[in-house]
């Protein structure tokens, strides 16, 4: 893995095999029912460039996250992490380049509800009159009818998702009355209830204590083991190897992508952080 890759060159082969490697897929027409289609990556950003006026926010960024893998997105504030998330979700139109989600366009992925996004803490109105259950139920909207009236199957899926993130005791609680870590798990549960195959998390560890952080880390690893593609932005470099199969280092352009051990080298990091990272926190 070269640290400084000319933009636009193909991804170097990743060193760790994806957790769910399908056997050599047969041609699509051969087995119409049982054969999985050619395995598209969960998330593929190709040569994405985004400008806000004269400001270059993303410069020719290519990023690929396969199903079954967790990718940690690192970079200083203003390096374009949030812009990348917005581009992936189609909230910001790329000036150049393309985004494929599970091999499909953003529009298709939206109608299929493939993607779930866990917002940054400050982007949520925590005083909003909704309970944990209400928020997780919002993940079921794509599976519901015109008025989004919950059916038994929706309630069951919501209860399962809440149990999976360990919040069953707090299901009726207003979301503002939760701890920082619990708050993030509510939104992860929403993605589970949604059945999202691609999970995007913007700074889920900001303001979260270490116990909660390891809980969330375990949860994301489990979801990846179940086949989800997970992209997490984080500032916590020390725990990155526990969390992610690979790391992507962003500074408007993609400085490096590869196994965390390769990206977290001082000589690589200094290109994006521009200062000593001896203690692991930029």
């Amino acid at each position: 893995m070269t640290a400084r890759r000319p933009a636009g060159t193909p991804e170097p082969a990743t060193t760790r095999e994806p957790a769910t490697t399908p056997e050599s897929a047969p041609p699509e027409s051969a087995l119409p029912e049982s054969a999985p289609p050619v395995p598209a990556p969960g998330l593929e950003v190709v040569d994405a460039t985004v400008r806000y006026g004269s400001l270059l926010a993303l410069d020719d960024v290519s990023l690929r996250v396969d199903f079954g893998r967790v990718c940690g997105l690192i970079g200083v504030n203003g390096s374009g992490k949030s812009t990348l998330f917005k581009t992936i979700m189609g909230l910001v139109a790329a000036d150049a380049g393309s985004v494929r989600i599970a091999g499909e366009s953003i529009a298709r992925a939206r109608t299929r509800a493939t993607v779930s996004y866990v917002p940054q803490h400050e982007d949520v109105d925590w005083g909003f009159p909704v309970s944990v259950r209400d928020v997780v139920m919002m993940g079921r909207y794509p599976h519901q009818g015109f008025t989004r009236r919950p059916r038994a199957a929706d309630r069951a899926a919501v209860a399962d998702a809440i149990e999976r993130v360990g919040l069953s005791d707090l299901a009726g609680r207003q979301i503002g009355r939760l701890s920082g870590g619990q708050k993030r798990r509510v939104f992860v549960a929403r993605g589970i209830a949604q059945g999202a195959r691609v999970l995007l998390l913007d700074e889920p560890f900001a303001g979260v204590d270490t116990t909660s952080q390891s809980l969330i880390t375990d949860l994301l690893r489990e979801l990846a083991a179940d086949g989800a593609a997970v992209l997490v932005s984080t500032h916590d470099l020390t725990t990155l190897p526990d969390l992610a199969d690979e790391a992507a280092l962003l500074l408007r352009r993609l400085v490096a992508q590869g196994p965390p051990a390769d990206v977290l080298r001082p000589d690589v990091l200094s290109q994006a952080f521009g200062l000593s990272i001896q203690d692991g926190t930029p």
Binding site: M89, G90, L91, R110, T111, R112, A113, V115, S116, Y117, P119, D123, V124, D125, F128, P129, V130, S131, D134, V135, M138, Y141, P142, F146, T147, R148, Q174, R190, Q194
Partner: protein
């Protein structure tokens, strides 16, 4: 008939009034007949009946809307749209179109203008809203002044609760019915749009379309309420009930119920008081809603300022 009614309802009321009056049955009967007169006499007048009905209807639909407006942070937008529909209403009157058409058109023009000026200048949003809606409202006033009609400016600003004609009542009830139905059917999508537009976008909904829907409902409500209760009242009714309910519950569905109930009950109370005290009907309706808000702000079980103080003091006094 009335004595029979009294005996059936006497038991709970008697216990209620026991500390105030003596428990003598005669005194209780006097109090009850006073209350009955107080409640029924205004309703013997048709104009009061219509005023009550239109107040309740307007309060109900405005209260529903207010839940979304205050959660999104659109209270000023409610203010703006309810004022900005005026030129639309006058123009619709001139070219003989339904008022609702002109109102929606100008409501949306106001929102568009606000968006454009905010995004293309350094002026902050609250100032932009102030400029746009006052300008459009002023345009409406000028149009009224040159339009030969019976429209009374005072009525537009402060309402004409006591002068509601049966046809206006029907029209307002119709608009309110449409708006309430749409809001209640789409309440979950609109709640999602208010809470997390990014998620709404991610699952294929359009936050833009949903907020557009809410703005159209706002414009329709404004024109409905404007004809009866006046623009100042509309603004109050579009903010106070939702804010009151927000202090009383942690669930959005309950917030809708509480807002609507509080708004209707307090508005009717305000209308009664205006009858007996011979004061401005519209003004009393708003004052009643504001009084309920003040009570809730101070004494709500969980969020009340005074309640919180008391709780903190008890906690401090309790042994650790």
């Amino acid at each position: 008939m009335i004595p029979a009614l009294l005996t059936t309802t006497m038991t709970p009321l008697a216990t209620l009034t026991a500390p105030l009056t003596t428990t003598s049955p005669a005194a209780v009967t006097t109090v009850l007949s006073t209350v009955t007169t107080w409640l029924t006499e205004p309703l013997t007048y048709d104009f009061m009946l219509r005023a009550m009905a239109i107040t309740a209807v307007a309060a109900f639909v405005c209260a529903l809307l207010s839940c979304w407006l205050i959660l999104i942070g659109w209270s000023l937008m409610g203010d703006a749209v309810s004022h900005a529909v005026l030129p639309g209403v006058v123009l619709a009157y001139i070219v003989d179109l339904p008022f609702a058409v002109g109102a929606v058109a100008f409501g949306l023009i106001a929102v568009l203008l606000i968006g454009i000026v905010r995004d293309t200048s350094r002026i902050k949003e609250d100032a932009v809203i102030g400029i746009v809606f006052t300008a459009l409202f002023a345009l409406g006033i000028v149009l009224v002044s040159v339009t030969p009609s019976h429209v009374d400016l005072g009525h537009i600003v402060f309402g004409n609760l006591l002068g509601v004609s049966p046809s206006v009542l029907v029209q307002v009830a119709l608009l309110a019915g449409i708006v309430s139905t749409v809001l209640l059917l789409k309440r979950r999508d609109l709640m999602l749009m208010a809470f997390d537009p990014v998620h709404a976008h991610a699952i294929g909904l359009s936050p833009r379309v949903l907020s557009g829907l809410l703005l159209v409902m706002l414009a329709l409500t404004s024109v409905a309420a404007l004809q009866a209760v006046g623009v100042v009242l509309v603004v109050a009714m579009l903010i106070i009930p939702g804010a009151t309910a927000h202090l009383l519950t942690d669930r959005f569905s309950r917030m809708l119920v509480i807002a609507a109930t509080v708004a209707v009950v307090s508005s009717l109370a305000g209308a009664y008081l205006s009858y007996w005290w011979d004061t401005s009907a519209g003004g009393m309706v708003v004052l009643a809603q504001a009084a309920v808000f003040a009570l809730v702000y101070l004494f709500a079980p969980r969020e009340g300022v005074v309640t919180g103080r008391i709780r903190a003091r008890r906690r401090a006094a309790a042994p650790a």
